[in-house]
């Protein structure tokens, strides 16, 4: 996307709960038109970050700007352009889906009931049972409908598929791809299912130790974070290192190094220095996730 318009700008965002720092100095810019998959371990702060982005939680310090407006103080006009799905949607338990959509829709200047009806059909959503009687997956589907009815320019989904079965998940991802077709639409979704990100996202972000540890295009991420196997006739020294290393494992004449953004020249230099042959292994997102968190697969 070449749109110069910046949708979300986060600078020096900090948030602690009871003296425990969750977000420390998060700097992050999401351009308009991106579809961003936000990944992180349980408890890494994905939900906290999302709620700070939307002004649902007040940051201790730092700033979030959405389309040039402070997220803590958004105008009604900007709020009307945002759709948000909470990880655990809460609505009146006695209201059925159909009434709920009408109720939520009444709060927006523009509400597309036909679109909601269409998605409800596609995802097989029971609209005439009280919300409180629905399964978590069905509740989640209705929550997603309430976030799509205003045809938002910015759609933020916190673990949107966590309660959905594989069939419903695929149906939802198909819809998400359809929604993403509008190039001016920005979508951010957190998940721990890396394969969902691989299908839908243009960008991927990893939240780790309170910071955005990595943020780039998905393809670029896959091309930059790789595993290198160096084999030599001689043993490698314990001091072996290579620029961009995330994790190095030395085993006699074999070195397995996971690296980020290491140049071909650096790889060739290592080969020349140790008289070694190299084998480059491409990693999928799950393996990249593990490598970024220094966990042996």
């Amino acid at each position: 996307m070449n749109s110069p318009e910046v949708r979300i700008e986060v600078s020096k965002l900090c948030k602690s709960f009871a003296k425990q720092a969750v977000l420390c100095d998060v700097d992050w810019t999401i351009a308009a038109g991106s579809v961003v998959g936000l990944l992180g371990t349980n408890g890494s702060g994905k939900t906290t970050l999302i709620q700070c982005l939307l002004g649902l939680l007040k940051a201790d310090s730092g700033l979030v700007m959405i389309d040039g407006e402070n997220a803590w103080d958004l105008t009604a006009r900007t709020k009307a352009r945002i759709g948000y799905v909470d990880q655990r949607p809460k609505f009146y338990p006695w209201m059925n889906g159909s009434d709920l959509l009408q109720y939520v829709g009444a709060m927006y200047p523009n509400w597309n009931s036909a679109l909601c009806a269409e998605y409800a059909k596609q995802w097989d959503v029971p609209l005439f049972k009280p919300f409180g009687k629905l399964s978590p997956g069905e509740q989640q589907k209705i929550a997603i409908l309430t976030a799509l009815g205003n045809e938002p320019d910015l759609l933020i989904l916190d673990e949107p598929v966590s309660s959905l079965d594989p069939l419903a998940r695929r149906a939802f991802l198909r819809s998400l791809l359809e929604i993403a077709r509008d190039e001016n639409r920005t979508i951010l979704f957190s998940t721990h299912i890396t394969s969902d990100v691989e299908r839908v996202a243009t960008h991927v972000a990893f939240l780790h130790d309170g910071r955005i540890q990595w943020f780039d295009e998905l393809d670029v991420t896959k091309e930059r974070i790789r595993r290198l196997r160096f084999r030599s006739k001689n043993n490698f020294p314990a001091s072996f290192t290579i620029p961009g290393a995330l994790h190095i494992q030395i085993d006699g004449s074999l070195v397995v190094a996971s690296v980020a953004a290491t140049s071909e020249a650096d790889i060739e230099a290592v080969c020349a220095r140790y008289d070694a042959a190299v084998e480059v292994e491409e990693l999928n997102l799950e393996e990249i996730f593990l490598e970024l968190h220094h966990v042996d697969a």
Binding site: R174, S195, R199, E282
Partner: protein
């Protein structure tokens, strides 16, 4: 060949980015002659829909293939296979030199897997048979 008959398949959870999987498959179809110069490719939207991937992914693959001279944009058709632009100016030696590093990776892997020379060559030959449509 009609573009509707082309079957692409991608594996999103591969280490190879999806756009590169598509590039590889188009290249293979062209090299094998299953796609001929002038044949139309499915539209970006159609292919994205059928593979259930982001449209930008397909767009990126097509753009790269166009830059490589494999595809060309045809008015009213969309993307089509370009007339072959085989680098005939380059000598056989030069073209072999271009191929060598790619094969080297594969051969090294074969040695690691403890395959004999004829066994490695047999793999290469079977790939040639599959792709030359012989």
């Amino acid at each position: 060949m009609q573009s509707s008959q082309l079957s692409f398949s991608v594996s999103p959870s591969s280490g190879v980015p999806i756009y590169r999987q598509i590039i590889d498959q188009v290249n293979a179809l062209v090299v094998s002659g299953r796609l001929k110069p002038g044949d139309a490719l499915p539209s970006i939207r159609k292919l994205a829909e059928s593979l259930e991937v982001n449209m930008m992914t397909i767009s990126k693959a097509y753009t790269r293939l166009e830059m490589d001279g494999i595809l060309t944009r045809v008015r009213g058709v969309g993307m089509a296979v370009a007339e072959p632009d085989i680098p005939t100016s380059a000598s056989v030696k030069e073209r072999q030199a271009e191929l060598r590093p790619l094969i080297e990776q594969a051969v090294l892997r074969g040695l690691q897997l403890n395959l004999s020379n004829p066994q490695i060559i047999a793999v290469v030959e079977s790939i040639l048979r599959e792709n030359r449509n012989e």
